[in-house]
Symmetry: C2
Subunit: 420 residues, 2 copies
């Protein structure tokens, strides 16, 4: 076990060096293809950097999101696991096996240190993004298991109960979350599965969610995708190219809270079940009124093109607002929410059927921001109270996580600034 | 409604004509790209043909499988729906909207005849394959609702209870199944969702399953993929190029049973939960002994290369068989099962977590064959009794469906030969 760890950290160090341009290694037959081109869906994004990858990284096609419960009270064991996770993540994001021996290279008389289902697959743009939930700082019994309660950021305040919330606690919350995004779902699943394997006895899978169709763009190089209501989603999303806006709305500043979060971002997840059968029976005109945009082009009802600015003051011939007062576009818009904006990178999901003859389908919302109190909470309060879309959706899961900045050095590890 | 249907059938007719080389139409802005190239993942497979597409079609990357209950006793209404389904399937497989007006082209005062989430997406190799379950011929109350009990093929005999079965009835069976395979999951989901929409009031979703990583190849042009045990799966699968073997093992012959199934095939589905956490703790040597192959190359333990023939008589230095008597390879092999073979095109799945700290993951098995009594039942009896792999798997869902041959004419429809 110890030998594996030493080798694992050595591997991570070498990978870090490779990012810095000092060389490259290939310990297994999974060849890394370092590459940041969006168009190369097999390529790899750097693991080390000022920011965690997977936030402004152009949204990959597939998601496996996993929230873990920490089942040990032993801080050293948890830190030990986070070191192991970091080494594995550094490897897997570069298209390599989770461990240095790999799926088939180790002892025949030991469990492999990689599970093998990604053996023949490239990096596929895999990013792994870690976040820490409120219950890690003080658990549900009120206990500060790891002596970090004083380091909990004020911005990581429990989300309020929103009107109409129908949350299932079993698929909400979590002490630690890992967001795996990749162009190949097998690669994203492989990454989460190997982290769960490495964490055995220290963490337990609380809930996990697969997503198949990204519902937002996070780069101007991407077209706006459609959600399961059939509408373009995320037209006004913050994009990687909006540097000044990201600085204002996405990244945590020095002085915003504890130092360990400076340069990080807060993540809110919401599983939003869509009652698609009901939606599918509604008139096209009604759908467009509810959203505030036309379905084909995605333009605001006061405009012609997707990126036209909505005119919230425009009225129709009868003196009624063209963009309805309870439309999703109006209620979610920054102008109606003290300027609050989010960087979203959610995914569509279908979890089989619901036992009532309907598909269990919807949107797994993922939103990153500088301070959820001023951003997600502000916007969701507007939406939850008035949004005409509420008739067709149910929020069934909620998560809140503090995602620290990226790792710059190969001897750094996930959570060091929090636990050290 | 009637107007839509007439136009729908006209559209299907035109598509049929296009397949026959007489021309092409593009009623919506989703341009069809007829193409049978495996390498073009955006292309379309022909809907019309001697066989249903989606059986020997090179296995696409993603699956949405749906089993429906028929909730009407009105045969005319069911036939009506099957005609509508056929028209929609002919359109969607060519990358077009489900209906002739499409997601945004119809009346503003009516629900759209397409749900819109695939508006900007190409055909993505979508195939839709229909099958009829035993309960369509005589329902669970013993009632022959549609007067077709006499047409039930003997080969569509209810599967026996196998040793160790832990089936959940809520996600087993079904009157009608549709297998949607595509390279883009959003396209597969869109197709099932629109069929469910069209069938509203006549059928109800009984269960549905998403799959993300094909676990078999059905063409020699494809590499053998890996399942979630990390092993190559489907090495000895029947392939599209094995014409004589397909004739012997896959396609129903004239005289095998009722005429309406001649040229069709029988489909067995099994959802196989994998206890991956337990597997991940087992030694590499044990894993290889259980499977009967090495993990890296996928060669039989008596050989060097993936496609080497296993030598079941070979013994090690201690006189023990190199390929264990309870290994999966030996027990599933045709030589041990009166020559029985299947064409498999299953998928990996992850359905979140199981509430016990584990990923709910496994294999959604899909097997096509000429006669399940002599093929799947034979093989599964061997496996269920002795397979060493049983310690790591649980069969949780089972389905059996008769899939008729393909449609040749644009005025034909799914189920005509059964219901007419």
């Amino acid at each position: 076990m110890q030998r594996r760890k030493v080798l694992g950290l050595a591997g991570a160090g070498a990978a870090g060096a490779a990012v810095a341009g000092a060389g490259a290694i290939a310990l297994t037959h999974r060849e890394p293809k370092p590459d940041t081109l969006v168009s190369d869906t097999a390529g790899a994004y750097p693991f080390y950097g000022e920011r965690q990858a997977g936030i402004i990284t152009p949204a990959q096609d597939r998601l496996h999101f996993c929230a873990f419960d920490v089942i040990t009270d032993d801080k050293a064991a948890l830190v030990d696991m986070l070191q192991d996770w970091t080494a594995a993540a550094a490897r897997m994001t570069q298209g390599r096996d989770a461990g240095t021996f790999g799926a088939v290279g180790g002892s025949m008389q030991a469990p492999p240190d990689d599970t093998g289902e990604a053996l023949d697959l490239p990096a596929s743009g895999l990013t792994l993004t870690i976040g820490f939930g409120p219950t890690l700082f003080r658990d549900v019994r009120g206990k500060d298991r790891f002596g970090i309660a004083a380091k909990r950021p004020a911005a990581l305040a429990d989300l309020p109960n929103f009107p109409r919330d129908t949350l299932d606690p079993a698929i909400s919350g979590g002490d630690i979350a890992v967001q795996a995004c990749a162009h190949d779902p097998q690669v994203a699943v492989h990454a989460i599965r190997n982290l769960a394997r490495i964490g055995m006895g220290k963490v337990s899978v609380r809930w996990s969610q697969l997503g198949f169709g990204r519902t937002s763009s996070t780069s101007r190089s991407q077209v706006t995708p459609r959600n399961l209501f059939g509408f373009k989603d995320g037209t006004r999303n913050l994009k990687a190219e909006d540097t000044a806006l990201l600085d204002e709305h996405l990244w945590v500043h020095s002085g915003d809270g504890p130092d360990w979060m400076t340069g990080g971002s807060y993540l809110v997840t919401r599983k939003v079940r869509m009652l698609i059968e009901t939606w599918d029976r509604s008139m096209l005109a009604e759908q467009q009124t509810i959203i505030g945009r036309d379905k084909g082009e995605g333009a605001p009802l006061t405009g012609k093109l997707e990126h036209d600015e909505p005119d919230f003051k425009a009225e129709d011939g009868e003196g009624q607002p063209v963009i309805a007062v309870d439309s999703h576009l109006r209620l979610a818009h920054a102008d109606q929410n003290n300027g609050a904006r989010l960087l979203r990178r959610g995914y569509n999901y279908v979890d089989g059927s619901d036992g009532l003859g309907r598909l269990n389908a919807g949107l797994f919302f993922i939103g990153y921001q500088r301070d959820p109190r001023k951003q997600f909470v502000q916007i969701q309060n507007s939406l939850a109270k008035l949004d005409a879309l509420n008739e067709y959706i149910r929020h069934t899961s909620s998560g809140l996580f503090a995602c620290p900045p990226g790792l710059l050095a190969a001897d750094d590890y996930w959570g060091r600034s929090l636990f050290a």
